[in-house]
Amino acid sequence: MVDFGILLQIVFWGVYAGCIYILLATGLNLIFGVMKIVNFAHGEFLMIGAYITATIFFITGINPYAIILLSMLALIAIGAVVERLCFRPILGTGKLNEIFLSIGLIYIIQNGAAIIWGDKWQSIKSPYQEISVPVGPLNIPIDYIIIMVVTTAILCGLYLFLKRTRTGREMRATSQNRKGAMLVGINVERIDILSFGIGCAIAAAAGTLWVVSGQVFNPYMGSIPAIKAFAIIILGGLGSIPGAIIGGLLYGIAENGAAYYFGGIWKDAISFIILIIVLVIRPTGLFGESGD
């Protein structure tokens, strides 16, 4: 019989891991929803976000949580450039082109980062690393609570942006029917750039939170989280942001549960086992609609 406190702790670590996955998967889903492109290089934007945070922190000593905004702004710009130069020219030319382009981008971005920042593992220390707060039977470092709060704030912000602003509504319209959106006068190319930039910015936020939580990072850190983010959006339903949130949480908790009960080597495998089971039962994913 597992102790309730331990179970709670595992769920907590799962939710923390889920926060990173949710942000990564939400950004990926936003891009897929609007542009319908498959970008395997999405994890590299998480990596760039991590490095921007660390670099600014090393140079200025600013609180790394404050750097999250700078990191997101920088990634909006970087994402817009990548969309304009790389994805727009091949938009609609076939999925294979998108896949190979994004695989190429992985190598270019990773090696570029290695040239700029070196390829050693690095880490930074949160200013709050010594502070813990009692939560029920647990004594939780405050950083993880801040990470959960920041993730929730970003998701709420995205929700309000998509629901309450004109641009957000245009984004949703483009996502639902690209030709229809064009017919009613929406500049879909502008929406493409915006959604790609915002998707990358959310990945950058995930990178900042990754770094602040004390995890090590190097130029190759993004590949595995990106694969998991893809699995999450397939699990949750392509284009569905609630699906990405539920999928991310489910993966985070399942991974940590599997690591506890079956050993660390099952941590990654369990994600894909869940994915296969869900797809067999519901091929459109948890929140997906047929036709996606």
């Binding site: 390829d119 090590v216 990654d268």
Partner: protein
């Protein structure tokens, strides 16, 4: 007549040319292939290995190079192969070095999983290979391929797993009993967390076998694994904490070990003694975990920040200074054994007097050269007759936090003939309970 003379002249010139082509030209350089992880998760260690190899080659070449049978002195030419920290990358690098660059000897190899993947190619082409980083005994013990050209110049997981377990039994266990006021026969509660690779499993096997074979009063209360390159250890550490250990033995690479200890102390509240494997004795490791490394133990044979007292301290100091002057940082342990690996390769080729592969292999079998910068059993480097392994003198270091530099620094605490200070349990240490 005129035509006969011309014909004979042409024939003589052709004969001379053919003879010139078939006669083996004396070697102008000795090509040494260095396989290291220049990219990928192990690049921190890999670069150190490659740069250390260059320091050694520069020193050897500054003295004229290696003497061959024909009396000539030939310089070493190092060619690096990046294994990209992957098995496929290793295979690619080894094949290029052997068949493309046609190296005379190979040195290096870090991850056991990666190194064992390209051993087949080494066996096929019969290239002498001095392994200086991969520590799983399977490197020379495996029987599925011919490993007779592979020589192991770094302690194996068997060796240091056994060594660390013995240290726990002889030093940590009595200290914990003393702190608890417990009887001497109280079983010591040890937890193990290991990378799920040949390296990590090798340590796990060594710990289990040492306990069983020597009937040690050590109980393994939790054994957790993680995949190579993992950065989130909170759940396996939660499982370990639930088992109430007296100490935790970590079989991990430095990029895993530092966050693991940080997460254990900071996030899980596991205030215990952590024992790390020797490859963690690396400047980046000290930097990464800051104050959380305080009180932990590293099994070592070469440290960027300490050395056993004696003649070797000077040799190590010279190497560290040369390396630091060239690259602006200190070398690590894998760099040290690779530095020695180049000296071993040069000595073996010098002894053989040729670059002929079979002769160099035999010279490695017969090798008996003075230790270079690391302490060897008997003060000499030689390879065992059965599995071609060199034998090192190891030590244990305990880390103390230095407020001024904001990092931990090591002090040798075992064995008695090398120790600088005594092992102590930190004031915050919490022993385990059944």
């Amino acid at each position: 007549m005129k035509y006969s003379v011309l014909f004979i002249t042409v024939l003589l010139i052709a004969a001379a040319l053919i003879a010139g082509c078939t006669q083996q030209a004396p070697a102008k350089e000795i090509k040494v292939g260095v396989i290291a992880s220049l990219t990928g998760p192990a690049s921190n260690v890999g670069k150190n290995m490659w740069q250390s190899a260059q320091v050694a080659a520069d020193e050897i070449n500054a003295k004229g190079g290696v003497s061959l049978k024909d009396g000539s002195k030939v310089p070493l030419k190092l060619i690096v192969g990046d294994d990209e920290s992957t098995q496929q990358g290793g295979q690619k690098a080894a094949t290029q070095l052997i068949t493309g660059d046609k190296v005379d000897i190979l040195v290096g190899g870090y991850s056991s999983a990666v190194t064992s993947a390209y051993e087949q190619t080494v066996a096929e082409y019969k290239i002498p290979f001095v392994v200086t980083g991969a520590s799983s005994p399977i490197i020379t013990h495996r029987t599925d391929i011919d490993t007779s050209y592979v020589f192991h110049h770094c302690p194996t997981t068997d060796t240091y797993g056994q060594y660390t377990t013995t240290f726990i039994d002889q030093v940590v266990r009595p200290a914990v009993n003393k702190k608890l006021g417990a009887a001497a026969d109280r079983p010591f509660r040890l937890a193990l967390i290991y990378q799920d690779t040949a390296f990590g499993k090798g340590v796990q096997t060594a710990v289990n076998e040492t306990i069983t074979k020597n009937k040690l009063n050590i109980q393994l209360v939790s054994q957790q694994s993680f995949k190579m390159g993992e950065s989130d250890f909170r759940t396996p550490l939660t499982a370990i904490k639930a088992a109430n250990p007296d100490a935790v033995y970590i079989a991990a690479f430095p990029n895993e070990g530092a966050p693991l200890i940080t997460q254990a102390r900071r996030d899980i509240g596991l205030d215990t003694i952590f024992l790390s494997v020797e490859n963690n004795d690396n400047a980046q490791f000290y930097k990464d975990f800051g104050q959380y490394g305080e009180g932990s133990i590293i099994e070592s044979r070469f440290s960027p920040y300490t050395a056993p007292v004696g003649a070797l301290a000077d040799a190590q100091g010279k190497f560290k200074n040369s390396y630091n002057a060239k690259y602006g940082v200190f070398p690590d342990m894998m760099g040290a054994s690779t530095y020695e690996g180049i000296y071993i390769a040069a000595q073996a080729i010098g002894n053989a007097g040729t670059t002929d592969k079979a002769a160099v292999r035999q010279a490695l079998v017969d090798l008996n050269m003075p230790q270079v910068i690391e302490a060897m059993k008997g003060g000499t480097i030689s390879f065992s007759k059965d599995f071609r392994e060199s034998r090192f003198d190891l030590w244990m270091e305990q880390l103390a936090f230095n407020q001024t530099i904001g990092e931990c620094r090591p002090n040798i605490v075992w064995p008695d003939n090398l120790k600088v200070v005594d092992f102590v349990l930190p004031s915050w240490y919490k022993p385990g309970s059944a």
